[in-house]
Symmetry: C2
Subunit: 323 residues, 2 copies
């Protein structure tokens, strides 16, 4: 019996945002989302089911994690143990490969890599689509990190059809420049932020329908390789998500002064003829969708106002890989 598995998964940046759950337990989203998998950030995870162990151990970057973190992993591994009738505890070794220490962490690559490793270790050998539904239950955005390039997470109608669909490998001069804005304030987690918004923002009721319209439009833009349209929809969808937060009670905003500075720089670059478009998630960092061939030009311009180590250039990333 195979009781050991190791896999790598990449991070992803949503262009059409996942914002709001219709089912907290099953992690079913209010709307479909669409992302670009990126190669600059990935997680490698090994899962070893070991019948000599009395409990689950979770090491992240070689450090043993506390009860709370380990418990999240245990609950997730139970999905695999249940289906494959494995009764063993597990040792999980996970390493995040990040281009800079500051701020850019993601549960997407983490749970996608864990799912892919557990898939091997448990002997389940699920197909990508089904595996994405397992990843989903660890963290919504992990659903999309199963595939590379542009990936849709189909909202679905039940827990059976809420999975990832690969849309396009993004190998047509697509890149991203990420501006790491260090947050001074302790921020509200993405999970809390979306729940607060769903619960209290009168604007939220506009969101799910509007995001579904954006999904249709952006898929058409990808199909036609219409970069300008792709960018405009991305930028608009991100700002609409942030608008729903401003409407929450009390209002919620993840923007820092430097976030606005980065967004202004993007608008200036565009006025100068460089096609690039920003998006922001539940944090102060600004992600700039661009032509990979122009990413260094954009980086040079950002270096006029940001430190070099705050700027990350990346191309599209691949899907999960078994190691």
């Amino acid at each position: 019996m195979i009781n050991r598995g190791k896999a790598r998964a990449y991070g992803n940046i949503a262009l059409i945002k996942y914002w709001g759950k219709r089912d907290e337990k099953q992690v079913l989203p209010m709307n479909s989302s669409l992302s670009l998998t990126i190669e600059c950030f990935y997680t490698e995870t090994e899962v070893i089911f070991d019948n000599s162990s009395n409990e689950d151990y979770f090491y992240l970057n070689e450090e043993l994690q506390d009860k709370a973190a380990t418990n999240k992993i245990s609950v997730f591994l139970d999905l695999f143990r249940k289906t494959s009738n494995i009764n063993m505890k597990a040792i999980v070794n996970s390493t995040n490969f990040v281009p800079t220490a500051a701020g850019l962490a993601s549960s997407a690559s983490g749970f996608a890599a864990l799912a892919a490793a557990a898939n091997v270790a448990s002997g389940l050998n699920l197909e990508h689509r089904e595996l994405s539904m397992y990843a989903r239950q660890g963290s919504g955005s992990a659903t999309r990190s199963i595939y590379g390039g542009f990936v849709q997470w189909q909202g679905g109608t039940s827990e059976k059809d809420s999975y990832a669909i690969p849309i396009d490998d993004a190998k047509w001069d697509i890149g991203m420049v990420i501006v790491i804005v260090n947050s001074k304030e302790k921020s509200v987690s993405s999970r809390e932020g979306m729940k607060h918004t769903v619960d209290t923002s009168p604007f939220y009721k506009i969101w799910p329908r509007s995001a579904e319209d954006d999904i249709k439009e952006i898929k058409l833009a990808i199909e036609n390789r219409d970069f300008e349209k792709l960018g405009l929809i991305t930028e608009r969808n991100g700002l609409m998500m942030h608008a729903t937060m401003l409407g929450a009670n009390p209002p919620l905003s993840y923007w820092e002064p430097d976030s606005v500075l980065a967004m202004q720089t993007v608008r200036e670059l565009r006025n100068e003829g460089v096609p690039c478009y920003f998006t922001m998630d539940a944090g102060p960092n600004v992600k700039i969708l661009c032509r990979l061939s122009e990413s260094n030009k954009i980086k040079r311009r950002l270096k006029q106002v940001f430190d070099e180590e705050q700027i990350i250039v990346t191309g599209p990333g691949p899907g999960i890989a078994v190691l």
Copy 2:
């Protein structure tokens, strides 16, 4: 016949925003708004109807204005000329008294002072309520500058009942600290911004009802002198207005990096136990509603991150005065 009139009017800051017109020509708003008249900024205007003149002349701060600016004044004075059967052209001398050269200008005090001066010069001698409806046709926000303290502009059901109502003189330890954020970008005018939002933002349809609810709540807070509630409603309503702009297509934002810095400073002050609340209009400046008795403490704190000349402290202002 009296053919000369001079008056002063003060600026005002909306706590519940005027955002969107239901009738462009009559300047009828989508929703009622409520403001605080402030004493730091005012306009003095003299209107002289002179039958020896062949055209209208408009001097602002002792400089003769161009055709476009003069034409706006002429059209406005026609309202008074028509009602009072005056056939004379006018000479208008207007002076803005601003605490700093940077950025803080307002058509509110301008059209309120012009209306009040024309009211005397034309011999119409309208009551405040009717005069506010004249001022409205010059600039929506001018409606509220007819009165001092807290003033409601009742949205109304027709052009006959869309006027200002004095709510409270605000002489109960109410003040404001204004942070002047210099804009590098040329911004979209308030008039254009609201039209673009009404026309293209799916969030806008939530706004009018929500603002009317805020009006009811804030009037209750004023009646009860509940400063915390007053501030929280103010802050939330302003952010909701900005949320409607983020939802416009293309999106619209007036925020500068320093706007976010000022808003963060307000949140920090509040965490330290100083009750103060921000609001922003269609521009990058941040207006902080506070206790007048704490305004200098707030100014000292803001001086840690802004230049002294960027910070204006003010108390509530009075209504129009005939000079």
